[in-house]
Symmetry: C2
Subunit: 348 residues, 2 copies
DNA sequence: AGCGTCACAGCAAGCGCTTTCTATGTCATA
DNA sequence: TATGACATAGAAAGCGCTTGCTGTGACGCT
């Protein structure tokens, strides 16, 4: 039924070995023979059997990309960049690799299961994007999995994720703390003294780091934080909306709201508007990430730009061995403060 | 070095066959034996060799999802929904399947290459999302590929894509024409008579269908279209920005701008604002898709909501054989007009 | 008591490919 | 002309798993 290497070999009047060599192009084959084989391949419409070849060669051309939420452009942009460097079809790299994007939905179990699945497929490389969960047992489980992958020859790269010591994984980490600090300092510089903070899910490293930066800025300027000023939520618009209403309820005198990311910030803007407050006249708003839509908000969003595409591309190249790993296997990528219309001096 | 089935078998004092059966659970194995095997698996930290198993069983648990642009939430949302039904880790389905998202970047060649790669991996199913390219040779090549995939037992589902006759592919198509028409009729109903249209890439089916709907509405209301009122571009914000400036240059008296999708519409809004025009007082704007950010635009965007998540979920279920295919293998999914702040009566 | 049934477990034959090693013909060199 | 050296091609041994078929006791039945 299905055409095999042997069929091609028969048709081209050569041995299967020769066909394999033509297809893999890593062994001298006379031009005329090669052409004959290629013609047979074409005529029979032969397609290599991936599993068989992976089994025999003990390698695979699968590259896994783990993301928390594929519907979120934050991850989409990174995944896209990673993939373009993986050299899937059309990429620069020679060999065709199948870049597979796996959506963990932020669930630790799924993350682990996907890693196992990739291990099972003997993936050539794995790139994990986005923050990690701080749950100790899970972190240990992931670390052990990563070590096993690395030991089995799979290249492991973390993109926008804190380093995983002793796992052999290369880490490109975002400086969430520094960005958070810079952002809040900008607001403080404008004169704000009462700032609400809408954090992401409490157990995520990204959440904690950004919040730490925010608090560091407050502290550096002698602003004592009110416990009511922080609300935890999810990394989405709705969460931002609800959290903002909650903040307003807790302390209507807030003059600025700092959000965990841009989506949350947009939700915050909507809530403020719905509460009859003007941005930035009454309340300033700041986001994080600088996703494409942030510039289209009205007023456009003050935020911290993370070079997602660049980081992804670099992660992809490292995963493919086309770029050297940073010294120590760890690189910190800084964000850039983007001051736009959503932030201004406090009212009055 | 690496642990194999045989190692587990030796440790559990059973034959490899038994271990395989325990792992696949499709053959009676005594409870005590099973437990012994499972313990050995655990102790040895055994991970099945995917390629070997796929080769021997002549099936794979890979499911491919093709998207045009993974950084675009339009595709991200569908991919996410498809994947959740595929039953990757955490999904409802029992068997663990690896859902792989492939980013074609809208390139026909890449699309074809990815299909071949998936064919090579003997994918269990393939879901193609988004519009197709209208280039005849390419369409034929894709159709032939789809037929081969279907013949080889791979389930092929099109989600948000026009049907591919005689390929055995199930199609869930968006009613882009109907949506486009409804949208423009809404604007005409408001009193607009001079409407600019910012189309997507000319060679895409989605572009053509939406534009056809727009024109049908114009015609139905006896509005003669000016050739200057249509500009082609890409499906992104920047394209919308530039196209709007171009439209304004060509005919400053336009009172409404209809965009190929929401991202383009946002770009249009930005261009209008930068040109000193108010929305909708001076010019109304309409988008398409109703992506999450559209409601956050100021004013919020009038658009056509496409049930991306629902369609994706359905496509996923069909691909898994957990839902029956629609009669005739084709279902048309309608959009819903969402009237919001960006559209109003023409000035004056 | 004799024998068919049933529930398990093992044997062994591949699945379709890669790759090492070996064979063969062709040259250039001595 | 004899002889390496070299360029190619083939034979064959797996890669690690699945599965059809073949045992083999333990049971229940007449």
């Amino acid at each position: 039924m299905t055409v095999t290497l042997a069929d091609v070999a028969a048709r081209a009047q050569v041995s299967p070995a020769t066909v394999s060599r033509v297809l893999n192009g890593n062994y001298p084959v006379a031009a005329t023979t090669r052409e004959r084989v290629l013609r047979a391949v074409d005529e029979l419409d032969y397609v290599l059997n991936g599993p068989a070849s992976a089994l025999a060669a003990a390698t695979s051309d699968l590259v896994g990309i783990l993301v928390n939420d594929i519907a979120d452009p934050f991850f989409g942009i990174m995944a896209s960049a990673i993939q373009s460097e993986i050299g899937g079809p059309g990429g620069r790299a020679g060999g065709e690799r199948l870049a597979v994007v796996c959506n963990t939905g932020g669930s630790p179990e799924r993350e682990l299961t996907y890693l196992t699945l990739l291990q099972r497929q003997r993936a050539a490389a794995v790139v994990l994007t986005g923050g990690a969960v701080e749950d100790a047992p899970h972190a240990a489980a992931v670390a052990s999995k990563l070590r096993k992958l690395a030991d089995a020859g799979t290249k492991v790269v973390l993109c926008g994720r804190p380093p995983a010591p002793d796992t052999g994984a290369i880490a490109l980490t975002f400086d969430n703390r520094g960005g958070g600090r810079e952002l809040t300092e900008h607001l403080i510089g404008l004169g704000h003294r009462r700032l609400g903070y809408i954090a992401g899910p409490e157990e995520r490293t990204t959440t904690r780091h950004r919040l730490e930066g925010h608090r560091a800025a407050l502290e550096a300027h002698g602003i004592e934080e009110d416990a009511r000023w922080t609300v935890y939520g999810r990394y989405d618009r709705q969460s931002g909306y609800e959290a903002t209403l909650e903040l307003l309820r807790r302390d209507p005198s807030l003059t600025a709201v700092v959000a965990a990311n841009d989506s949350v910030a947009l939700g915050a803007c909507a809530a403020l508007r719905d509460s009859g407050l003007r941005i930035p006249d009454d309340v300033s708003v700041a986001g994080f990430d600088d996703l494409p839509f942030s510039i289209d908000a009205v007023p456009s969003l003050t935020t911290v730009r993370l070079p997602l595409a660049e980081a992804g591309a670099r992660a992809g190249r490292i995963a493919m061995g086309r770029e050297e790993a940073p010294p120590g296997g760890i690189a910190t990528i800084r964000g850039e403060l983007m001051v736009r219309g959503s932030s201004g001096g406090p009212r009055g």
